[in-house]
Symmetry: D2
Subunit: 145 residues, 4 copies
């Protein structure tokens, strides 16, 4: 299940964050461990979610964004030491759920992609995405598809 | 993308390993962190791979099983302290790749499923799965589908 | 700074918990990573603290046990796959602080020891250890010193 | 066991590296986890060791620097998101062992210190630190003590 070509382009993503690799991310093969790479995608999601759902708004509303589904493609081995650029954008936006599309770049090459489906909830379960947050997510959509 | 019903049944999987949760698996919400759960699936894959590709065989042949694709469904929150049973079986077997299907059970409930596509490689790239390993993978297939 | 001989004896510790190693605990040298070993000691501390400071008591009182100091001796390399037994007991008990002494055993050999100083606090800062908890800590003291 | 005052000063350390915190470093209390902080010190050690023992030199000589002892003082809670500056310098240099002194700074405050004793080994066990590496370690000594 190869990712679409535009998903491998840095320019497709409105947001990014630089995350330096750590020695603890390596495994016995000397490459960045598959599970450890999950932590890089998590930084990309956290940054996008802070942009669309500010922390104060979450504390007041009790809204939480729960991860329902994660799909990662491993495209090339990533190395330590060195930085990884985690690029992020919004894919599909539904009634109470939305998709964050992510990609990892090292030395200009895309080493992996990730799609994450999140559900917006409060104590009662899934709730409709509030209009302000929906507009913020719309403003962070992937480009070029 | 809901997993098939038989994937939520413990009896569908020929192998399993008990992995106690650790405090370090938690995140700020007090549940097992999404990335940390990746480490549980990794234990299930490692056990299955040791059964089908014994370590001595790998050292002699130089074969490695590289992860190409991981797809995780988060079905329920998992808790600490307590054990997680990681169940594993083989799905599709191709020429040089195969799929490991996994599920996490806590207190009898399926809290998540994972499908992982692995590619068998040597220094030259992807290679055909050797007959002995293919037979071993066949013997570890998921049941009941 | 070699640990005292009695600290290498399993019988010196009143509590223990079995923690299986995980593939993610390894580093590029193929041994359990030094930082990852910290997670094993954490499980020993968590078990001892649950015994002396039950979770409900903490929620009601707002008491927290904050780590002030950790001193680890690495005595031998530890391996995956396999279990580690984390043994724990209480060392010195002060007015508001106490010491947890820990040791890791694999295949009968002590592969490391740890001393942790914890301070009991509430929102105002360090507080005296309550009598019930002090008695519980006294009952979990290291033996044979 | 309070660290010496000069150990809390950024200017005492000849080397430093910026390590951004990650969501995965947090624990249920919402602060950077004690074990996760070990990964920050590890980055400081890795940078210093790459400066004094270049990777090619290690591959040719088979020398490894094994950690024998780690002593961490937790001085203040550290927060996410945000960077941590990991400062490093060499303390005592013995025949086959040496000490790396480290400190973590966040927003200008020292949030923790660490002393690590390492032993230089080859396949036969501990060996004398080679003259070139000894000179490199001397050049990276802590200042101001």
């Amino acid at each position: 299940m190869k990712p679409d070509a535009f998903r491998l382009e840095r320019a497709s993503y409105p947001l990014s964050v630089i995350v330096p690799t750590r020695f603890r991310d390596l495994d016995t093969l000397g490459h960045l461990n598959n599970v450890a790479l999950g932590s890089f995608y998590e930084e990309g999601r956290a940054g996008l979610n802070r942009a669309a759902f500010p922390l104060e708004m979450r504390h007041e509303s009790g809204l939480r964004m729960l991860i329902a589904d994660v799909h990662i493609a491993y495209l090339a081995e990533a190395h330590y030491p060195g930085d990884i650029e985690v690029a992020a954008g919004v894919g599909h936006i539904g009634r109470s759920s939305y998709t964050i599309a992510l990609a990892l770049f090292q030395n200009g090459a895309c080493v992996g992609t990730c799609e994450t489906v999140l559900v917006v909830t409060d104590q009662t379960g899934a709730v409709e995405i509030p209009p302000v947050q929906r507009a913020a997510l719309e403003g962070l959509k992937l480009k070029g598809r």
